[in-house]
């Protein structure tokens, strides 16, 4: 049975416990439940991981447009941007280009793209219309989920059983989003579809300073086009469909995404630049239960198409290359097109056995990733280095074809000798054909000595396999980064203490943690300005405190106050700091107040404070959302960044963009969802 179905059934299980709850003391029954910590439903305060759950109701109330908006509720989670304008999600201060240190999952299945290792290219800005809830582990999760579950795991549970509805969203910068959702029981098959399409012209923000240290408006060459505005248009479609026949689940998810980037590599955007990618994911699962034994079988396949057309350096520009001490003039500007395809196939089988005090889980994972058909075209002749008005194929590719096969074994025991204590132990062994094998362990002791108190003592290990970019990227003069096939996996260990006080109307959890990192991959510059990926031989650490609380009151429990605070102090070796991109803020504060008026009108105020960091000022933004609810429709209107605060997000490379990524000020959005 798929993990999602298990999750669905878990509500039934909980519900069946609710009947005796009439005559028993189960006050905590209606706290948020998550599957993510052990693979089975648990109240998040009793799970052997530090877990946050974001519900659909919270996302709707706060006017979240994409998953990124919702993720900002998570303590210790920060959002930045990479050079192409792609969001970077970081947790606990560990900030990297492709968000590859966080594992994204769809309905419990890992979906990170092996090219960059991250999941943000497709899933960070997923439309919230199709999300039922999001479960997040703050900390490691490799024992269950393998590579990339390093500093965090984000499990996106998509809606299946939905009322038929159509929604339209219109906002600033010509943002339009259409969504349609449907589900129906046809004979033995339950089927669903959730489709959405979004267009966004993007904010036009002034680029203050670029890579070449040239003010675009004050360009020395009067013939330069004045590309002095950012170029963040987006066209994106997301199509999720599936069917369930008893315990057989079939689901597929197709996403195509294209955008104009933010800066291009010169910092002078061109309207022609187009970053495009598409991903087709298919998953099927089947489960069988015999007595105390249960088995789950999963098959996953993923096809990824990478298509990045970059138009940078306006025609006529002169560039000095410090590596060769030469000066180049590009009469036709510089353009390139990089393409590649990745086909991933994998399977997992999981068994579990449960008796009175133990639940044993063990499983096997087999997976293969194949990168093929890479191609590079540039408008520079590879032999004569002549600048051409058209693209030609470059024999020396941008990345080499690659193949990766790995298999893994894992086991986990949840032991509950008494009702107030539970101990979870787990181990996993992964064997990769490119860098070797890794073993990860976890241990979690959860105590509930008093009715409202929970104490967690957690230890976890995680690893991250190097991405294909880090292994096989080939350098070229314009992007002087070079892969390193000798890279080893990154490793980490985490120690956490969590104390929670929970009642039905008020919950608060405080987590103290230390995370040690080994073999972190960073870019080491050589005297010729070539950046080569290397493993750091020094240990890095992050120490932090996270507070997460929720207060609920009023009729229907519609009113609530969410509050989170996190302090994080990262200690990185100097060379990692120089060659990599660690620049987390010390303080993050989030507050979300929701209040319901006259039963039909809701008001939500969201506030986010991001503390100061190197070269980037602190900022505080707040959103105000009105929601009107009725059985036939939901209408919402939001003012985002109501005080029109200008703020910068950190960029991947501080040296290149000292101004950070300036973000738009106040924006407006309206959304109507109509239920049929």
């Amino acid at each position: 049975m798929s993990r999602f179905l298990a999750c669905f059934l878990s509500f039934l299980v909980l519900a069946s416990q609710a009947l005796p709850a009439e005559i028993d003391d189960q006050e905590l029954l209606f706290l948020e439940v998550a599957n993510i910590a052990t693979g089975y439903p648990q109240v998040k305060f009793e799970a052997p991981s530090t877990v946050t759950v974001i519900t659909e109701e919270e996302m709707t109330n706060m006017g979240a447009r994409t998953l990124l908006d919702a993720l900002r509720l998570v303590p210790g989670l920060e959002v930045g941007l990479d050079l192409s304008g792609m969001p970077i999600v970081s947790m606990r201060g560990l900030y990297t280009a492709g968000s590859e240190k966080i594992l994204f999952m769809i309905n419990g299945r890992p979906v990170n793209i092996v090219l960059t290792g991250g999941g943000t290219p497709f899933f960070a800005d997923l439309s919230v219309n199709k999300i039922e809830r999001v479960e997040i582990i703050r900390g490691p999760g490799s024992v269950l989920y393998g590579s990339n579950a390093f500093s965090g795991v984000i499990n996106i549970i998509l809606k299946k059983e939905v009322p038929t509805a159509f929604s339209y969203r219109r906002g600033s910068y010509d943002t339009d989003e259409l969504s349609f959702q449907w589900s129906h029981q046809i004979g033995p098959a339950f089927s669903w579809a959730n489709l959405s399409y979004r267009e966004d012209s993007g904010a036009k923000m002034t680029v203050k300073k670029d890579f070449l240290e040239v003010e675009p408006l004050a360009s020395q060459n009067p013939n330069f086009p004045h590309y002095h505005k950012s170029n963040e248009w987006v066209r994106r479609g997301e199509y999720y469909i599936g069917s369930q026949f008893g315990s057989l689940l079939l689901e597929s998810f197709y996403i195509h995404h294209a955008d104009g980037g933010f800066f291009n590599l010169s910092g002078i955007p061109s309207k022609k630049t187009r970053y495009a990618r598409e991903d087709f994911y298919f998953h099927t699962s089947w489960s069988k239960k015999i007595g105390p034994f249960e088995s789950e079988w999963h098959l996953d396949s993923n096809y990824y198409h990478h298509h990045h057309f970059v138009d940078y350096f306006p025609p006529g520009i002169t560039v000095y290359d410090p590596a060769t001490s030469r000066t180049y003039t590009f009469n036709y500007g510089v353009r390139w097109l990089r393409e590649a395809e990745i086909l991933s196939l994998g399977g997992e089988t999981r068994f579990s056995y449960r008796n009175k005090k133990h639940r044993l889980t063990w499983g096997l994972v087999i997976h293969n990733d194949n990168l093929h058909n890479p191609s590079l075209k540039e408008n520079i002749d590879p032999v004569t280095e002549e600048n051409l008005p058209y693209l030609v194929k470059i024999p020396k590719n941008w990345i080499r074809s690659a193949d990766r096969f790995y298999y893994s074994f894992y086991g986990q025991d949840e032991w509950k000798p008494f009702s107030w204590i539970s101990l979870t132990l787990g181990a996993r062994w992964d064997n990769y054909d490119d860098f070797g094998d890794k073993t990860s362990f976890r241990a979690g002791l959860v105590l509930s000595p008093w009715k409202h108190w929970r104490f967690k003592f957690l230890y976890g290990e995680a690893f991250r396999a190097p991405s294909f970019m880090e292994l096989y990227f080939k350098k070229c003069p314009l992007t002087p980064r070079q892969g390193n096939p000798k890279l080893d996996a990154e490793e980490m260990e985490s120690y956490e203490l969590n104390i929670s006080y929970i009642t039905r109307y008020f919950q608060i959890g405080i987590t103290f943690y230390r995370q040690n990192y080994y073999n972190l991959i960073y870019m080491l510059p050589d005297p010729y300005y070539t950046l080569t990926f290397e493993n750091s031989s020094s240990m890095a650490t992050t120490d932090g405190i996270e507070i997460e609380s929720k207060l609920v009151w009023g009729p229907g429990n519609f009113n609530y106050l969410l509050f989170s605070y996190s302090y994080q102090d990262t200690d990185m070796p100097q060379k990692v700091l120089e060659g990599s991109f660690i620049n987390p803020p010390y303080h993050l504060i989030t507050l979300d107040l929701n209040y319901r008026f006259f039963s039909k009108i809701g008001l939500n105020y969201y506030l986010r404070y991001v503390g100061k960091r190197d070269n980037i000022d602190d900022y505080l933004i707040s959103n105000l959302i009105w929601n009107f609810y009725s059985p036939c429709c939901v209408f919402s209107f939001g003012i985002y960044n109501i005080f029109d605060k200008k703020y910068d997000l950190p960029s991947i490379d501080e040296q290149r963009y000292p101004e950070g990524f300036v973000r738009p000020g106040r924006t407006l959005e309206a959304k109507l969802t109509w239920y049929f």
């Binding site: 509500f11 039934l12 909980l14 069946s16 009322p163 229907g556 429990n557 039963s599 059985p631």
Partner: protein, 270 residues
């Protein structure tokens, strides 16, 4: 004199010994309430008790007991095999009642039935109120008796679990004033219950729940048993079972007064 004294004692105690019934207690010991009730029965000191804890080892090899006391659905199901008189408490599966003759088995349900709930509602609601009873195929048996004679317009809406969110919206758009939830696991799913609460508020349609927990979660009105009273009545019900007597458990209306003000229904203040 001594002989007379012993004979007198024997006469006094002999009937008592003879009346001390052997009963089998079947229950899940991981539910605190059942443990509490078992202790209450033990404290009565009137029975020879044989215990069967379903989630521990339970192997009853002979039928040397007079009748069975079961707590919960699973205990009642387990008890059917013995073909002995059965008194079962906290039964939520109404179909169990059809599996045993009414003369041999006596069921005290976890929730009052539809007729009892509507009778209670008729004490507080004005006449001609349009009421929908919401149930699934599983809980249809909750409405076991014809719902006639009530001063309401009553409609039974049966919804399927697979499309419940969609069906709920359709039902809440209809012209009902009150929606009564049949006791059903479906409505205790967190997602479903939350949707019902949201729709109830936004459509201003009063939803009557069956579990007192629902009151705390946001429903304004719940009609169910007062379980604290039931605790004290269960020993009496067991005693009466020997005498073929049935006692009725009191039904209460639980109202969240702050919440209910927002609904356009005029209640009888009494």
């Amino acid at each position: 004199m001594k002989v007379f004294f012993f004979i007198l004692i024997a006469i006094i105690f002999a009937p008592l010994e003879a009346s001390c019934a052997h009963i089998l207690l079947v229950y899940r010991n991981d539910i605190k309430a059942y443990q509490r009730l078992v202790n209450q029965v033990k404290m009565m000191g009137k029975f020879d008790l044989l215990e069967c804890q379903l989630n521990n080892s339970c192997s009853i090899k002979n039928n040397s007991f007079d009748f069975i006391v079961a707590f919960g659905d699973s205990a009642a199901k387990y008890s059917h095999q013995f073909k002995k008189p059965l008194i079962a408490f906290f039964i939520s599966d109404y179909s169990l009642a059809y599996k045993c003759s009414s003369q041999r088995c006596l069921y005290y349900f976890l929730f009052p039935n539809a007729k009892q709930v509507l009778t209670k509602l008729s004490e507080i609601l004005p006449t001609k109120t349009r009421i929908a009873i919401l149930c699934s195929a599983n809980s249809l048996s909750w409405i076991s008796q014809p719902l006639k004679g009530f001063p309401f317009e009553i409609t039974v809406e049966t919804i399927s679990s697979s499309e419940i969110l969609s069906n709920l919206r359709k039902i809440f758009r209809k012209n009902y004033q009150i929606i009564v939830l049949a006791p059903d696991l479906l409505f205790l799913q967190k997602k479903v219950l939350r949707e019902i609460i949201k729709l109830s508020y936004t459509s201003k349609k009063l939803v009557v729940g069956f579990s007192s927990q629902m009151l705390e979660l946001g429903l304004p009105l719940v009609i169910t048993y007062d379980y604290e009273q039931i605790y004290s009545l269960i020993p009496k019900a067991i005693e009466n079972f020997e005498k073929q007597k049935y006692i009725s458990f009191p039904i209460s209306i639980f109202i969240n007064k702050k919440v209910i003000k927002g609904f356009p229904i005029n209640f009888d203040e009494q």
